[in-house]
Symmetry: C2
Subunit: 371 residues, 2 copies
C-alpha cells in the first residue's frame, strides 16, 4: 500500500504528550483506542537498537484507563475474567484475559488494584468500558465505571531504573515486577508500575491530569540526556522477538484465551461464575485446536504483515501468520502466528504464503527472547 497518509481529526484523540512527540520527530503513527500511537521515530530498526541499548520515553496514553469503584467493584472485576483474583493485593498488577459470552477474547488488559473497592484497567485496543458498563447495568452492580483523567507514559530500556531513580528517587529501583506504588513528582503523587510492552525492562507512569503531560515528558527527557534518552514507542521487531501479543493483530474475538496461550490465567476450577464461563468450559477440559506460536521465516526481509498470511503443510492449511518483522539480532524474519495442534510442535517446518512468495516457517520453542 506504499505509505498511506493519516488524516487527523478530533476523533483520533491527541494525548497529553502529542506536542512533545511531534517535536521529537515522530515519523509514523497507528490509531489505538481512537488515539494517536507513534510507531517510529528514526526508523523501526534504529528505534529497536536504541531501545535494547539505552532508554526511551513512550507515549502510551492509548492504553486508556477504566476506573471501577464502589461496593461491588471487586465482585464485578472478578466476574470479568477467568483469572483468579482472590489472592490479588493492593499495589499489584495482573494481566487478565477478558472474554465475551462465547469465550472469545475482547481485550487483554492489565488490572491494577488501588484499594479493595477501587481498580484501574489498562486496556488494549477495544472499548472494553462498554462491556463492563453493560454488564454492570444489566446485573445492577453498585459500582461507578468511567475513564479517569489518567494517561500512561512508559520508560523502557535497560537504563530505565537509572532514569526513573532520578525522577522518583532511588527507592523505585526496589519495586518488584508487576507491582505499582505512589511516588512523588513535583507537587503530585503519581502511581508508577514496573511494567511495559517490551522485554527490556522499565516502568509505566500513570500521569494524572492531561495538562501535566508536557512537564512530565520534558522532565524525563532532561533527566536522561546523558543516558541518551529518546522518545520511542512500542517496537514491532522487539515485541515479536519477545512474544508479546497484540490484540487485534495476533488475536481477535474469534480466539479463546487458550488459543492465545493464556490458559494459565483461566482458573475455571476456582472462578466458576465469570462471564463467558460456558464459552470457555470445553477448551478448559480438552485444550484448544490451535495456539499462538513464535516462528522464524527464512529468506530476506519481508513486506509488513498487513493481513494474515496462510501457513501450509503441503496442501493442508496449518494456520496463519499474524505479525512479522525482520530481526537484525536474530538475523531472520521473526513472526507470531496461530498454528493448528497437528503442526504446533517446536521444530515443525511449514510453508508461509507471503506477498513476497512462499517461505519456510519454523516453529520455535517459546519466544525468540527466551532462546
Amino acid at each position: 500500500m506504499g505509505l498511506p497518509i493519516l488524516s487527523v481529526s478530533r476523533r483520533l484523540r491527541r494525548t497529553p504528550f502529542t506536542d512533545q512527540i511531534v517535536e521529537s520527530g515522530v515519523k509514523s503513527y497507528t490509531v489505538y483506542n481512537r488515539m494517536l500511537l507513534p510507531t517510529s521515530f528514526e526508523s523501526v530498526e534504529d528505534d529497536y537498537h536504541h531501545l535494547k541499548r539505552d532508554v526511551q520515553i513512550w507515549d502510551v496514553s492509548c492504553e486508556r484507563q477504566i476506573e471501577i469503584i464502589g461496593p461491588d467493584a471487586a465482585t464485578l472485576v472478578q466476574r470479568l475474567t477467568p483469572r483468579n483474583l482472590a489472592t490479588m493485593k493492593i499495589g499489584q498488577c495482573r494481566y487478565i484475559p477478558v472474554v465475551d459470552e462465547t469465550g472469545g477474547m475482547i481485550n487483554d488488559p492489565v488490572l491494577l488494584k488501588l484499594a479493595d473497592d477501587r481498580f484501574w484497567i489498562s486496556i488494549a485496543d477495544s472499548d472494553l468500558i462498554f462491556w463492563i458498563k453493560g454488564l454492570a447495568q444489566g446485573s445492577q452492580y453498585n459500582a461507578k465505571i468511567f475513564e479517569p483523567d489518567v494517561h500512561p507514559l512508559a520508560i523502557q530500556g535497560p537504563k530505565s531504573d537509572e532514569l526513573a531513580a532520578r525522577i522518583f528517587g532511588p527507592e523505585i529501583t526496589q519495586l518488584g515486577f508487576f507491582k505499582f506504588a505512589p511516588y512523588k513528582w513535583r507537587e503530585q503523587t503519581l502511581y508508577v508500575g514496573r511494567s511495559g510492552y517490551s522485554r527490556q525492562g522499565g516502568f509505566e507512569i500513570y500521569l494524572q491530569g492531561f495538562s501535566n503531560g508536557a512537564q512530565l515528558f520534558n522532565d524525563l527527557m532532561e533527566a536522561g540526556a546523558d543516558l541518551n534518552v529518546r522518545a520511542g514507542c512500542p517496537n514491532l521487531i522487539e515485541r515479536i522477538e519477545g512474544g508479546l501479543l497484540s490484540y487485534g493483530n495476533d488475536m481477535t474475538s474469534e480466539n479463546s484465551p487458550f488459543e492465545c496461550g493464556l490458559g494459565k490465567f483461566c482458573n475455571l476450577d476456582i472462578v466458576t461464575n465469570c462471564f463467558g464461563f460456558d464459552g470457555l468450559r470445553e477448551e478448559f477440559i480438552n485444550g484448544p485446536q490451535q495456539q499462538i506460536r513464535s516462528l522464524s521465516i527464512d529468506g530476506p526481509a519481508l513486506m509488513p504483515c498487513t493481513d494474515v498470511w496462510s501457513l501450509y503443510v503441503r496442501d493442508e492449511l496449518a494456520g496463519h501468520i499474524t505479525s512479522a518483522a525482520w530481526s537484525p539480532d536474530f538475523d531472520t524474519n521473526v513472526a507470531l502466528g496461530m498454528v493448528h495442534k497437528k503442526y504446533w510442535d517446536a521444530g515443525t517446518v511449514l510453508t508461509a504464503k507471503t506477498p513476497d512468495g512462499e517461505r519456510q516457517a519454523l516453529i520455535m520453542q517459546g519466544s525468540f527472547a527466551d532462546q
Copy 2:
C-alpha cells in the same frame, strides 16, 4: 502535524474493497472502528465538487453491522435507545441515539429492522457491540448478538439513482428515504437502503460475503463509466455543509443527545424503560445547556481542526468548534461546534481561537445545505 504516515497492520482491518480502493488511487485514510476508511482520492476539494455533480462509490465497510436476533431482540433494541420504535416497520431504517447509564452518547447508529425478531445496527466509531452484549448478558435477554459478514458500500451523488437502476433494476428508484429492501445482484440478493453520509442522495448496499467485494465494486464502476463514476468517500466539506454529525468529532460520551440536537429522537414520555433514562430525564424536562450549531468562520481557509477550538464572547467561554473546512460553494469556512445556550441563537457572532489566529464565527440558522 504535517502529513503523518499511517502504519498499517492486521489490527487496522482491511475491507472487502481495500484492493479496489488502492487501485482507485486513494490518497489518505482515517481509522474507523479499527478499519481503513479513505478520506481523499484526488483531493478533499476535488472529491467534493465531483460528489455534488456526479456519482461516487464509497467503501464504508467501517460502518460495522451488529446483528441482534432472537425472541428478546425487539425488547432489547427498544431498551437501547430513547427513540420510540413501536411504529417501526420491517424495511425501515431509523437513526437512533444510544446512551450509557449517564445519558452520554456512546454511538449514533442507523437501525434496520429485517424481521420482527431480527435487526442490524450500522454503527459509528465505537464498539457498541460490547454495550449491547453486556446488557444482554447482565439482563439475561434471549438474543444472539454478533458482527455478521456484512459490509456496506455506498453509492452517493446526484446520479445515484441512474447508477443503482443499472445494477439493481429500475424499481430501486421507487425506494423511499430511509427504507431498505432486497434486490437481486448476480446470484445474490442484497439489502439496499436509500441512505448515506452525504446530502447528495444515494444508497447503501449491504454486501453479504467478504469475498464478493471486488466483483460488486467493479460492477458498479463499469456500469457507471459514462456517468463519470469515481471511487469516493465521506467528504469533510460536504458533510459539514450538510450538518451531518461525526461521532467522536462533534460529540463524545460527554454529550447528551439533547446537546447533539437529537432531542426529537428522545421520546422519554413513551420510552420510560430505556437504558440511560435517569441520565436523560433532567434535560428532557429542562433542555440542554449547550447544543451543536453550524457556524461560518470568516477569513481565508483554516488549518484542519485536529482538536477543539475555543469560542469566546469577550473573555467568556461560549463553546468550541469541533469540525471545520473551507467550503468553495459557500466561500467561507464552514464549521460545527457546541455552543452555550446564552450564545446559540442564529446571528450571534463569537470569536474562535484557531491555530491561524482569532476569527469571527457566526451562528447559522440550520445547516449550510438548508440555506
